[in-house]
Structure formats: C-alpha cells, structure tokens
C-alpha cells in the first residue's frame, strides 16, 4: 500500500522566521525556498453526535476544498470543492464524489455543523537538499479562532511534511526542530485537532443520543431516578439551540425522546416522588410534547420524500411536488411557533421549576413516597419483570383478527419495557442485558413498521380528502396507500412469528437470568 509520510506539527511560542530555521536546523547545503503564502479561513465540521470523529475522521474545509482526514495519520482520504464556510450542510447536498459517499455513510440525516472557524496565515517552504531536490515541505502557520474573544492567543505551528522516500533524510530536521527552545510541544494531527477543539470550546464527543447514565444497584431508586432525569434534562437543554437554529431534524427527535423518557421514568417508577409534584410535571411534559408533534410529523414526512417518490411510477412523481411543498411550508410555521415557545419566559419558568425539583436533595415524605428509599436493584428487577409479564400477557391475546388499536397498545408496552431496560442497563452485566434488548428490538421493529404504516395511511387519506380535483395527486396518494397497506399487512403477518420468537423459552431464559439477579 502506498503510504504518504505523516505531517508532524511543532507548536512554537511565536512564528519562526525562515532565517532562524536556516540557521538552526538546516544541514550544510540545504536551503528553504518560498513555495506559497496564504491567508485564509478554515473550518472544521462534524455532526452534533460527532459521527466523523467517532469513525476517526476530521472534516476540514481549506483552500476552497472540503477534505476528509484520517484523524490518526493526518492523511487526506477524500476531497471535493466547497464554497464558503456555511454554519452547516447535509452530506447529500455535496457533489457526487467519494467524499460525499463517505460522509453519507457517516450520516445523511444529521447535518455537519461548523465546529470552529479559523483565520490562518500559512507560509510554506520547500526544503531542498544538497542536490536541490525537494525532500519536505515546511509550513509556518499562525491560527486564530474567530468569534472567541476570550481566546486571544494565537496557535503558532511549524508543520514538517517529508516527501515520500525522504523520511530518513528529514529525521535530523525533525530532531533539530524538537530540541529548539522556541518549540514547546510536538503534535500529531489528532493532538492538533483536539487542541483546536479545546480552544474553540468544543467538547469532543460531548454529546451522544445514547442513554449512558451509570447507576449504582445499591443506591436508592430516588437517587437513581434523579440521575436519570438529570440526564434527560441535559439532553433537552443541549438540543434546544439546534431546534431553534433549524440545523437538522434530529435535534427535535432527541429532544422528544428525552421528553418521553422523562415521562416514562416518572410514570414507570410511581411512588418515588411526591405524587402531586409528579402529576404536575407529567402534565407539563405531556403539554410540552404535544407542542412538538406537528413539527415532528412534518419532519418525518419530509424525510420520507425520496422513498415516497421512488415508490411511484415516474409519471406520478411530479404530483407529489406540491404535496411536499405544502408540508415544507407548514413546517416553517410550526418551526417558528415552537422556536418562539422555546424562547419564551413561560418555557423558561417551566424549566426553572423542573430544575428546582431535580435539585431537591432530600427524600420526600416517606409516608407518601413509599418506594423512594428502596434500592435501585430491587425496583429495577420488579418493574422490568412486571413490564415483561404484561407484554407477554397482552401479546398472547393477540390473534390474526386483532385490531390496529391492540397492536398500537402493544407497541407502547414494548416501548415501556425497552425504556426500563435502558434506564437500568448500567446495573446489569452487558452480556446479560444486550441479548434481552436485542430480542425486544426485533419485536419493536415489527410493531413499529406496522404502526408507522398505519399512521401514514391515515395521514395520506386526510390529504386526499383535502384535495378533490387533482386526479394525478389522488392516484399518487392511492399508490402510496396501497404500498403502505401492503407493508402494514406484511408487518401484521410477521407479528405472530416475531412474537412467538420473543415469547420463547430462550428469551424467557434470558429474562430469567437477568431478573434472578445473577447478572447484577
């Protein structure tokens, strides 16, 4: 495999002049010749969930090109021309290229947001040996972050990039640079990236949509529930700006999941908090959740645009254009409405109340909240068992003639069990909990497919009722409803098989192992 030598970065106290370099590091007969001097703005991008960094990739915009860079080696793996330094972009909007394919594989639903904007001044020199052959490029670089008034200090660097086949020849240069008094650290690309992110006040991998709160099995459930609620609250707070700035639909999605989880914790773990307060906040979060429904619905239909078009013959596809335009327009209205609410004092008051509730350090009155002082372990075992048994009981009652409503209800039971497993995952051994979640996930996916198709059919039928005269549109709606109906029936038919597999000795054993406490 053809390897390209890695660039090594020397962080210096100030900008080093070529004269200093020539005097202090070059062997006899070697010279530096000016290659280029550029002043430009560079930017780094990643998704809110750090999808690129997670896969060892940095997304850098420089010299009007967007690069994918291996974070460990600093090697560029793909590039595409790119104008400006937008606040965010979607991978799908980039020109067809290897870079686009790679970025889409990281995420095509999340936007790549600008992590920082850098003003850079770079002067590059060719390092010529005694035969006047270029053996390396030395770049003297000054980096200043824009929009960070508090961080006035510039980052001064000297980057040494040996040419292929000249790594050994440039080793003495590397050594001389390392020992220069003006050099205070030697960095690889990863370390440089982390330094820039630190200066930009970005917490690398500081957000994950996954539920990772660590609980202690012997802690009181009151204590654990507060930890879980603090986590869901932090997710709500972290996603608020992304919703308002309209960066991508996942901000609202994660916000809603955090809301649902908050309500689930409070509902599933009844008897932990003061009942009156519990009810008050349940109502508050239900109302808040309802405020987000319209916007989320529009997001979901806009995300389905491609699949809707692809499931219709080409001559019917144009009739969907006004349909999606209408959805996009109404989305704007709902987005403005929700953003206004999230900036309102009413919302702030609700958040303050909730924060105040979470910060109550003392256990509420034991008389009224009899469960609160129990151990997390015992509540976890009991609630998971109860939810699992309920799911089995309800599922066994479902026959081929079952109604949509019954399957909807079963999906909610499934979700409740899933949330409980996720809330308490950290107190179990991973090898005990992961297979249980996997089994449940299959059933959830089946029920999810059913409910999704059912909801979509209902929505499309409503659209049909609104527009009577457009026959092509009616045909399109008909076509989509047929496809969705087939999917729904497929999911219904598959349900028995999926549920039988879930309601099986093997799954029971997995739950048994989990619930007997041996896996704690």
């Amino acid at each position: 495999m053809r390897t390209i030598p890695e660039t090594v970065y020397f962080r210096t106290k100030s900008t080093l002049s070529p004269e200093t370099l020539a005097q202090q590091i070059l062997p006899a007969g070697w010279i530096l010749t000016l290659l280029s001097s550029t002043k430009e703005q560079q930017a780094f991008y990643d998704t809110f969930e750090w999808h690129a960094f997670e896969k060892g990739v940095a997304v850098q915009k420089k010299e009007r090109i967007l690069f994918l860079i291996d974070i460990n080696s600093g090697q560029k793996s793909a590039s595409v021309s790119f104008q400006g330094n937008p606040l965010s972009f979607f991978s799908e909007t980039l020109p067809d290229s290897l870079l686009q394919t790679k970025l889409c594989s990281l995420s095509n639903i999340r936007a790549f947001s600008r992590l920082c904007l850098l003003n850079t001044l770079t002067t590059s020199y060719r390092l010529l040996d005694q035969n006047s052959k270029t053996v390396a490029i030395i770049a003297v670089e000054s980096i200043q972050l824009t929009g960070h008034e508090r961080y006035q200090e510039e980052i001064h660097l000297l980057a040494l990039t040996p040419f292929k086949g000249y790594e050994e020849d440039t080793t003495p240069i590397h050594q001389s640079l390392s020992s220069l008094e003006a050099v205070h650290s030697v960095l690889n690309f990863r370390e440089l990236f982390l330094l820039v992110m630190k200066c930009a006040k970005q917490r690398v991998q500081g957000y994950s949509a996954k539920f990772l709160t660590k609980l202690h099995p012997d802690a009181t459930i009151h204590e654990s529930a507060l930890l879980l609620l603090e986590h869901t609250f932090s997710v709500m707070l972290l996603n608020k700006n992304g919703i308002k700035k309209n960066i991508d639909s996942e901000f609202l999605h994660d916000y809603r999941v955090a809301l649902r989880r908050t309500r689930s914790i409070m509902k599933l773990l009844m008897g932990i908090f003061n009942e009156r307060e519990n009810q008050y906040f349940l109502n508050l979060f239900r109302t808040l959740g309802k405020r987000t429904n319209d916007l989320r619905d529009r997001d979901v239909y806009l995300l389905r645009k491609k699949s809707y078009c692809n499931s219709l013959p080409p001559n019917l596809q144009p009739s969907l254009i006004p349909f999606f335009e209408h959805i996009a327009e109404s989305r704007k209205v709902f987005h403005r409405r929700l953003s206004r609410y999230l900036s309102s004092s009413d919302y702030q008051v609700s958040l303050n109340e909730w924060e105040g509730f979470l910060n109550q350090q003392t256990l509420p009155d034991v008389e009224r909240t009899h469960q609160g002082s129990r151990s997390t372990k015992s509540v976890a075992l009991e609630t998971i068992k109860r939810a699992w048994k309920k799911l089995l009981r309800r599922g066994r009652q479902i026959s081929r003639e079952t109604t949509d409503t019954e399957l909807h209800a079963l999906r909610i039971d499934c979700k409740k069990l899933r949330y409980l497993l996720e809330f308490f995952a950290s107190i179990f051994q991973p090898d005990a909990i992961i297979p249980v979640i996997r089994q449940l996930k299959e059933l959830q996916e089946n029920l999810g497919a059913f409910v999704d198709a059912s909801v979509q059919i209902h929505f499309l039928h409503q659209q049909l009722e609104l527009i009577h005269s457009d026959t092509l549109f009616a045909a399109s709606m008909g076509g989509l409803m047929v496809t969705l109906f087939q999917k729904k029936e497929e999911a219904r038919l598959k349900f028995n098989k999926t549920f039988t597999s879930f309601d099986h000795e093997e799954t029971s054993q997995l739950f048994h192992d989990l619930l007997t406490g041996s896996s704690l």
């Binding site: 495999m1 053809r2 390897t3 052959k133 270029t134 292929k164 086949g165 000249y166």
Partner: protein
C-alpha cells in the same frame, strides 16, 4: 491501473524525454502516476534529481511489491512518484533468467501498485532482452519513439518481427515519430510514408533544444516551459495516448 512502456531497441531516440513528460502530464490529468525507471543509466531519475537509496538494487526490484513500495520516491510534482533505477539494473537480465517464469515477472511484481496508481510508465533500457520481454507482458501499451531515419525504421521492423515470431500481442506497439526535423527531406519523406500505417500515432515530437535543456532544468519540459513547441507536442501526444488507454470519457 494501465501500464505504458516507452521502449525502443535503439538508444537516443527520445524515450526518456517522452517518459518523463508523459508521466508528468498523466500526473496532472489522471493522478497519481508512477514512473518506473528501468534503465541502469538512470536518466529519468536524474531528471527528477532522485537517486535510489544505498540499500536498493536489482535484487530488491525483482522481489517486487513491498520492496518496490518502500523505494518509491516522490518527485517535486504533486501526484508523480518515481521508482528510481540503480546501476545494478545492468544485471537485471541475468538475475531475471534465474527467476521462475521471467517473462511474467515484471507484471506480477507491479500487481499491488494498481491499488495506488492510475497509470504507470516504464522508461526502459535500449535493447531486446529477457527484461524487454517481461516489460512487453507487463505493459498495456508500448510506445516506441522513432527518429524518422532508415535505421530507426529498421529497428522498429525488428521489433515487429520479434513480436510475430514469439506470438506476442503486436497491437500493443504504438510507434510515434520523435526528434523530428521538418527541414530535413528524409524526415518528411519517412513520416509521409508511414503516416497512414495502422498503429502509428499521428502526433510527432519535434527536435527542440528545450528538450535537451531538461538536463539543466532537471524537470519535465512540460512543467518548466509548457508553451514551447515540444511541450505542446507532448501534450497532444498525451491526448492521443489517453484515447488508447480508454481514460477519456
């Protein structure tokens, strides 16, 4: 990866100049490109100011892939690498004869390079030996520079005869006229005689003092004097070659 050999039985016909300039143009349009200097005289390597490391020799070249990779060097031009020649290459034929299936050896040795380079150019030594045979098998196209003289044409015919006698694929051979002096009647007559011969490329490379100066510049003429007549001719020749290699479109 396509492999293109610059080859001639006869020396001093402009092989190296063509290899260096075509490889340079290839690196601009179809990066990355590798130029493999097989001539022990090392003229291509000299033009790029590159010499092989002290540990490198013909034995390592014959070991192939990994040994080749570790001895490739970057030229001063983006996306153009060079595998320099070593004086020990003068014994390549003898060493090749001791290998199993020597005719296929070169092809096998460059297999891994196809992951990294779009085009590979060979600058070959002027003779017709076992190494030449191995080169013929490894190359998709064999570009043969011909000075429009009777002697040059004679060596070209010898090459054709060799291919026919050994049942090699002679459609790979693509001659073009090089070091052409249009003021010479002999040059004009020979070019006219062969102009429509199947396989001959239409672009000719003029004799140009700038090409000789490559030894002073130690860089491709297309990089330092892109507007001189020879540079323009190499560019047109390159365009003709891209059509042959199906790189266009």
């Amino acid at each position: 990866m396509k492999a293109i050999a610059l080859y001639s039985i006869k020396g001093g016909v402009g092989k190296t100049a063509a290899a260096v300039n075509l490889a340079y143009l290839s690196s601009r349009f179809f990066p990355p490109t590798l130029l493999c200097d097989l001539d022990p005289q090392g003229a291509s390597s000299y033009y790029f100011r590159i010499s092989a490391s002290k540990k490198y020799n013909s034995g390592k070249f014959l070991k192939g892939n990994k040994k080749i990779y570790s001895n490739i060097k970057a030229t001063d031009f983006d996306n153009l690498d060079l595998l320099p020649s070593d004086f020990s290459y003068r014994n390549l034929d003898i060493e090749l004869a001791e290998e199993k299936n020597p005719q296929r050896k070169l092809k096998k040795n460059i297999e891994e390079l196809s992951n990294d380079y779009q085009l590979l150019f060979f600058d070959s030594p002027p003779n017709l030996t076992l190494l030449s045979e191995s080169l013929f098998a490894a190359s998709d196209i064999i570009l043969v520079p011909l000075i429009p003289t009777t002697l040059s044409i004679r060596t070209f015919m010898q090459l054709k005869d060799f291919f026919d006698a050994n049942k090699l694929n002679s459609s790979k051979i693509r001659p073009f006229f090089s070091m052409v002096e249009k003021q010479k009647k002999l040059h004009r007559d020979i070019i006219n005689e062969f102009r429509n011969t199947p396989g001959f490329l239409t672009q000719t490379i003029p004799y140009n003092s700038e090409v000789e100066k490559m030894g002073l510049y130690r860089a491709p003429i297309n990089a330092v004097q892109p507007n001189c007549p020879a540079s323009k001719a190499y560019l047109h020749l390159w365009e003709e070659v891209t059509k042959l290699t199906e790189l266009q479109g």
